[in-house]
């Protein structure tokens, strides 16, 4: 079973905060981490490899530093990594990104399954999975919380839907986007880290992949950001001062009033 796991490098959660004086964003220099949902996707793929044999390739589009995260994926059970890195890819929205990723998928060779995290914690759009599947013209199942049954021909999964869950069956190849709780990512061992440091990670640029320049990067992005700003605050709040005991007395009265 050959699977490809798409991973995104995201800022570690605290990285972006607003400078209290200039009201602009300041980074605190922390390194990028793997999107937690993608870490679960990787663990799912490695689990599949352990059960059915095969190979796991991790794929990412990002700056050169992202190689570090692909090597970390190798240390956790992936076999090879492909990094799509080129200034030409920068500024991509989800449509351009999914096209670029599809080039990486082609580069990886044949596959039965593509696994993605359901969404990235910095973007939250959850669009890459369905859009990549659309480019590859394979079916897509989102919000998978459990893989119930898997053979080299088809997969049966449980997924979250509005108001509950659904069990469904799809023939391979398929693209699945997974919930973070689908499994717990393992930590690498010392042996795994040795492999991660020296294992095969290929870095590919736009021309090597024969990318259509009109479909990648900022040029290939139908959407663009025209403004970023801090959310406005509502001004009419009523403070409740005092000791915890005093505050609690007031709160008790308020709560009773409102819940009447």
């Amino acid at each position: 079973m050959k699977s490809i796991v798409c991973m995104k490098a995201v800022p570690s959660t605290n990285q972006v905060r607003l400078d209290p004086v200039t009201h602009t964003i300041c980074r605190d220099g922390r390194q990028a981490v793997v999107n937690p949902f993608d870490a679960s996707a990787l663990e799912t793929a490695v689990g599949i490899k352990e059960r059915l044999g095969g190979q796991v390739t991790v794929l990412s589009m990002g700056i050169p530093d992202t190689e570090r995260l692909l090597r970390d994926a190798l240390s956790r059970g992936a076999d090879t990594g492909i990094l799509l890195s080129d200034r030409a890819f920068a500024g991509a929205d989800t449509l351009a990104t999914s096209y670029s990723l599809s080039l990486g998928v082609k580069e990886a060779g044949g596959y039965q399954m593509i696994l993605c995290g359901k969404m990235a914690v910095d973007g939250d759009t959850a669009q890459i999975g369905p859009e990549l599947a659309g480019v590859l013209e394979i079916p897509c199942v989102t919000d998978v919380c459990e893989i119930l049954h898997l053979t080299d021909k088809e997969v049966q999964v449980k997924k979250g839907v509005d108001g509950g869950h659904q069990i469904l069956k799809v023939k391979l190849p398929v693209l699945l986007t997974v919930e973070k709780d689908i499994c717990m990512p393992r930590m690498p061992s010392i042996a795994g880290i040795r492999f991660g440091e020296t294992g095969p990670v290929a870095v590919k640029g736009a021309s090597e992949l024969a990318a259509d320049p009109m479909r990648i990067g900022l040029t290939g992005s139908p959407t663009q950001v025209i403004k970023t700003f801090t959310p406005k605050r509502q001004s009419e709040s009523i403070p409740i001062p005092g000791t915890p005991g005093e505050q609690a007395s007031q709160l008790a009265i308020l709560c009773k009033e409102v819940s009447r």
Binding site: V33, R186, M187, P188, S189, I190, A191, G192
Partner: protein, 530 residues
């Protein structure tokens, strides 16, 4: 206006601390600053009312549990007062009620409330914010502890293996004595001559102290007063269990955070291999900031509790063949150094009987958090088990040893623990700072009989550990619960010396009565003198 309040049932929870012992008191106060403290001390001094000091009440030795009299709870003195820079090092001034986790968060996120600081200190703060990250290295598992209490019992944590206990990081203290007079102590300014020490009160007047003559063990130690020839005066008050004065302000040294911190959990099939590994790591890996141990008993409880409680459902699974685990934390200057050290650690591991594949290496914040959760789940799940057993027989409480021995006795002390536990047929779980030969051997009584046997065994251990040149309390402090062990360690003569020392600073035995030694110790010992 008096801040001394009657001890009504509203204050019930202030009758106990984490040791689960319960006391009683007649009055209580929550001073908000040094002035309040002195005012209350002076007021109560008139009638010689005994005072028990409290911070976060997270102590395990009942030092904060009152035996009548007044409770002075310092948790409202929770301000971070200022920052000083000297020679590139930063020193932070705090009130004793500042909670460790709040301090850690404030320093690491560089978000401190400096509104009340002086202009000079605010400038230092601005410079501090531009610096790379800093941290406070004393890391007891219970981060809701107050800094005053941590200083009072000379607390330590996993990282004290490398960085030392609380003592190493206290550079200044303001101490209020039982009569309300103040001492201001700075490290490096006042040294004893031999065993004679001079202290100058801020209001004027000197105190000449005759220090006890015992020799402290050369191990991690939080048992009794710190005394040695030509000692720094500040050290007398650190680890004094709230018996010599009220710490109204502390100055703490901050350290630059290492660029790279990695945690490695190594799993072993045999305890012997884990110990051999510890000794080798101690010798050869200078970058080890902590070396911690969990035994089979501890891991078994984790497995059991994970199966039963959703609180632990996100805990990583430990394979069935695992007997014990050693956790090594590496602090390095660079990724390259860390990687190199990791590989060396792996080689040492294989040589000791472990396997490089049977390790968890946490290199990023997420994994470290997972690993931390795992490590903290060990004492937590044990406490849950004891609470369950307590429901069946209320006399049951956790019996946790806190003893340390010198390096060369590691094998011997472990062998002794194992042999005697088997002999006494007691269930146990052991974990702790194996790097300092300081293991918390927790006996888990199944009934009242087990509890009795356990206490007996602890007394036996206290004697054996003393003989090996170790300490009966390595980090929890003596408080009231370990008084008997302190006596085993030092003998009655030296205990009386300690009490005499206390009398010089606190003539009416007002502060922390019952901590370290019974309050009647001098009457008994000096009956004839009177």
């Amino acid at each position: 206006m008096t801040k001394v309040r009657a001890f009504t049932s509203e204050f019930d929870e202030y009758r106990k601390d984490e040791s689960r012992s319960v006391g009683q008191a007649e009055s209580i106060s929550f001073p908000e600053n040094e002035e309040d403290v002195c005012h209350i001390l002076k007021q109560l001094y008139k009638d010689k009312i005994p005072i028990t000091l409290q911070g976060g009440r997270t102590g395990l030795a009942a030092a904060a549990v009152p035996g009548g009299g007044h409770v002075m709870n310092l948790s409202k003195m929770n301000q971070i007062l200022g920052l000083r820079c000297n020679g590139g090092r930063y020193y932070i001034r705090v009130q004793p009620g500042v909670v460790l986790s709040a301090l850690q968060k404030g320093i690491e996120s560089k978000r401190l409330d400096t509104a009340a600081w002086t202009e000079e200190e605010q400038k230092v703060y601005e410079a501090f914010c531009q610096e790379p990250e800093h941290f406070f290295p004393t890391d007891p598992t219970e981060t809701s502890a107050c800094l005053g209490g941590m200083a009072a019992c000379n607390a330590s944590g996993a990282r004290s293996y490398y960085y030392g206990a609380m003592r190493s990081h206290v550079t200044g203290l303001r101490v209020a004595l039982s009569d309300g007079s103040m001492l201001c102590l700075r490290r490096g300014e006042n040294f004893a001559k031999g065993r004679k020490m001079r202290l100058t009160k801020e209001e004027g007047g000197e105190i000449c102290l005759e220090l006890p003559l015992y020799q402290m063990p050369h191990t991690k130690n939080a048992s009794g007063y710190y005394v040695c020839d030509d000692m720094d005066a500040i050290d007398l008050f650190i680890g004094s269990d709230g018996t010599l004065g009220v710490l109204t302000e502390l100055e703490l040294e901050l350290l630059p955070l290492p660029a790279v911190i990695w945690g490695i959990s190594c799993f072993f099939r045999k305890e012997k291999d884990a110990i051999a590994f510890t000794k080798k790591v101690r010798k050869e890996i200078g970058q080890a900031a902590a070396i911690e141990f969990f035994d089979e008993g501890a891991i078994e409880i984790l497995r059991r509790q994970k199966a039963r409680s959703t609180a632990f459902s996100s805990l990583l699974d430990v394979d069935a063949w695992v007997d014990c685990c050693i956790y090594v934390e590496l602090h390095c200057e660079s990724q390259a150094e860390a990687l190199d050290t990791l590989y060396r650690l792996g080689e040492i591991l294989e040589a000791a009987g472990g396997k490089e594949t049977e390790t968890w290496v946490a290199r990023n914040a997420n994994d470290r958090e997972q690993q931390q959760f795992f490590r903290h789940a060990v004492p937590e799940s044990t406490n849950m088990l004891i609470d369950e057993r307590k429901k069946i027989d209320s006399v049951i409480t956790k019996l946790g040893a806190d003893m340390s021995v010198p390096d060369e006795y590691l094998d011997e002390v472990v062998e002794m623990y194992r042999r005697s536990l088997k002999e006494y047929d007691l269930e146990s779980a052991t974990w702790g700072h194996i790097g300092n030969n300081h293991l918390h051997v927790n006996i888990l009584p199944r009934d009242g009989e087990d509890y009795r046997k356990g206490k007996e065994l602890y007394a036996i251990w206290a004697k054996a550990v003393t003989k090996m040149g170790g300490a009966v309390s390595a980090e929890h402090g003596v408080g009231k619960l370990k008084r008997a062990f302190l006596e085993v360690m030092y003998g009655r003569k030296h205990m009386i010396e300690m009490a005499r020392l206390k009398r010089q600073l606190d003539p009416y035995f007002i502060l922390g009565r019952g901590n370290l030694f019974p309050s009647t110790i001098l009457e008994e010992g000096e009956g004839k003198e009177k």
